[in-house]
Amino acid sequence: MKPSFEMVFSGVQMRRYEPSPRARGAAAAAAIVGTLISNDLHLLLLAWLGILLPLTIAGGIARQHMKFVTVFLGPVTAALLLVWGWMVAAPPGMPVGSSPEEGLSFGCMVALRLTVLGGVIQLCFLTISPEQLIATVRCWGLRGEGLVIVAGTLALGPELRLRSDQVLTARYARGLVPNRSFSNRLRQLPFLLRPLLAWVLRSAIQRSEIWHQRGLLARLQTLPVEPCAGSSTGSAFFVFLAFSWLVYNIATRVSG
């Protein structure tokens, strides 16, 4: 059935169990603090494998999360283990070479904290549906230039991906890439950067003209967005989970 104008424009299409922007922000803050003060290696591992991974799968961002883990955290973890387990061979505050096991354990702890932190941040931002994006950011109290920057950046991400894809497509279409081998694709990177940079500069100038001409920046501040709605079940679930994590870690710290 063709969606009618009124049907689509009158209501926001939300994902099931999408938490409200306030609950999302509060849960993310609690989870981040809880992770930063956590010093239980096994618990961090359990939180990542048992809670974050299933949530990233349910939120449809498992692929992005695994990419983050393998591309970014993999080399960082290797470097941390190398430095604390072998080169310094001791955790911070202890003499160099005094305890390679504890150094290794410290390296693992930092790597796991980064993994959980990354997962929490990805879960917090990447699962916001495009329909809820501006409402969420405004609900978090962002106004003025900050709102413009965040809205522009969040809208720019998909556009940048799209443009890179289009430029690569154009190179294929003009026969400038003989075949699709990995090395050939890798060689396209420098050629990708020039048109992208030129596009960014040209777009920045032309768009800022349009913003100024149509008074869009002022409109963004007063945009009649939908209220900070969300699923109450989803909100309660995420807030409960994050605050339990925070309270448990505070309790563990206090009890020593």
Partner: protein, 430 residues
């Protein structure tokens, strides 16, 4: 026209605009239409200061040929883009009907940048109308919209419900779809604007391109299907026999999948199922892209990579193995034909849109592939240039090249013999 608008407009323009709410600017490329439209909507032209008179005019809108830059880039969905522009509640606005009839409603949940060229044009113009501008300038954007929608849009622009908006249109193909158009015509000459740094030569279709295909290259599409990940099916069991040395004219509404079909043929995309046969043998354009079919994009900026026009034109032939004198001669003749020889050392992205389009077209033609797909080859070109480009296309067809032209302009196939193929609901009919 309101009093505050009068302060901004001067001389002949004021008198002409008062008589009609929709006025058409007539003129050739480089006659100063773009500069005039930009000036009238308060934008800065090269070498000019910001027009102070416009400070008092609250709402002006310009939609240029680079449509993606007429989209704000601040909104994650089409719905937000419209909301960002609307100055009154939509259910009380005449715009609701425009949005529905231009087919924008089903696109509400999509990112504006993922729309096709025609869809982006409809969205950009609708958004510009949403701010209830006193002056709306549409510069070549209508050329990218399907004729039926163009007529609807033009009717809306002249509608009493938009009586506070004066619309100025620069459109090179206007006459072909509005033959008995009685709207005010304003002719433009470039005397009002400072001289350009560069001179732009006309296209010379009499130059021999030096491209000849002695062996015919038949293309057969057998049950070709394609859908974008997480998107609808674009092509369903498409089948066609395409003869070499023939000009085909691919028609279809905005977003019908014309560009997708072109990308499948040149190897930029891989079909989900089906075969592409070249001279009866199975061809795999996905594995060796651009070898049989060359593709000229609707948006020239996507396919310009080099630091000079000459390098840009040479890149394709060199990548496909052409060397020495043959390569130099072909590139020279192609550049001469498209009137870009004298700007061969210029950076392509420093040139105006019309010339960038020509450079991109020359770069595709210089590849010398047996088949060419030209997406909106006349975009932004005035009648004389479009005529010359059409003659170059017929020269290519005579040399054995198969050409598939994708265009909303009917001018090309009305004047030159072409076979029409139509893409509708994912199916191709010949």
């Amino acid at each position: 026209m309101t009093a505050e608008k009068r302060e901004g407009l001067t001389g002949e323009w004021l008198g002409n605009l008062e008589s009609s709410r929709v006025a058409v600017l007539e003129g050739n490329n480089f006659s100063g239409r773009t500069e005039l439209l930009r000036e009238l909507t308060g934008l800065v032209n090269q070498g000019q200061a910001r027009p102070q008179a416009w400070a008092a005019v609250p709402r002006l809108a310009y939609v240029g040929p680079e449509l993606y830059n007429s989209i704000s880039g601040l909104a994650p969905t089409v719905r937000h883009e419209l909301q960002l522009h609307l100055v009154e509640e939509l259910k009380y606005s005449p715009l609701a009907e425009v949005i529905d009839s231009l087919g924008i409603s089903p696109l509400f949940g999509r990112n504006p940048f993922t729309l096709s060229g025609g869809e982006q044009a409809c969205l950009a113009i609708t958004c510009a109308l949403s701010i209830k501008p006193f002056i709306l300038a549409i510069d070549c954007a209508l050329e990218q919209i399907a004729p039926s929608l163009k007529m609807k849009l033009l009717d809306y622009l002249g509608d009493d419900r938009f009586s506070k908006t004066s619309t100025l249109i620069a459109d090179n193909r206007l006459r072909e779809w509005a033959k008995s158009d009685s709207r005010t015509k304003l002719s433009v000459n470039n005397q009002r604007f400072p001289k350009r740094r560069l001179r732009f030569d006309p296209i010379d279709s009499s130059v021999d391109l030096g491209i000849q295909h002695f062996s015919p290259y038949c293309l057969r599409l057998d049950s070709l299907s394609f859908r974008y990940p997480q998107g609808p099916t674009v092509l369903r069991n498409v089948a066609a026999d395409l003869e070499p040395g023939t000009l085909y004219f691919l028609e279809g509404r905005n977003g019908a999948g014309k560009s997708t079909l072109a990308k499948l043929l040149c190897g930029a995309l891989r079909p989900d199922s089906g075969l592409i046969l070249a001279n009866g043998n199975q061809s795999h354009p996905w594995k060796q892209p651009g070898q049989v079919v060359g593709y000229h994009f609707q948006n020239p900026d996507l396919q310009l990579f080099s630091t000079s026009v000459e390098q840009e034109v040479k890149a394709g032939p060199v990548a496909l193995g052409l060397r020495g004198q043959e390569c130099v001669a072909r590139c020279r003749s192609v550049m001469a034909a498209f009137g870009i020889s004298h700007i061969s050392s210029e950076h392509p992205l420093d040139l105006p849109f019309v010339i960038r389009k020509r450079v991109a077209l020359a770069a595709t033609v210089a590849m010398g592939r047996p088949w060419l797909i030209l997406d909106e080859p006349m975009l932004g070109q005035d009648n004389a240039s479009a005529e010359a480009i059409a003659r170059i296309i017929t020269q290519l067809v005579d040399s054995g090249t198969g050409v598939i032209a994708i265009s909303h302009s009917t001018w090309l196939h009305q004047r030159f013999p072409a076979k029409i193929i139509r893409l509708e609901d994912g199916l191709l009919s010949q």
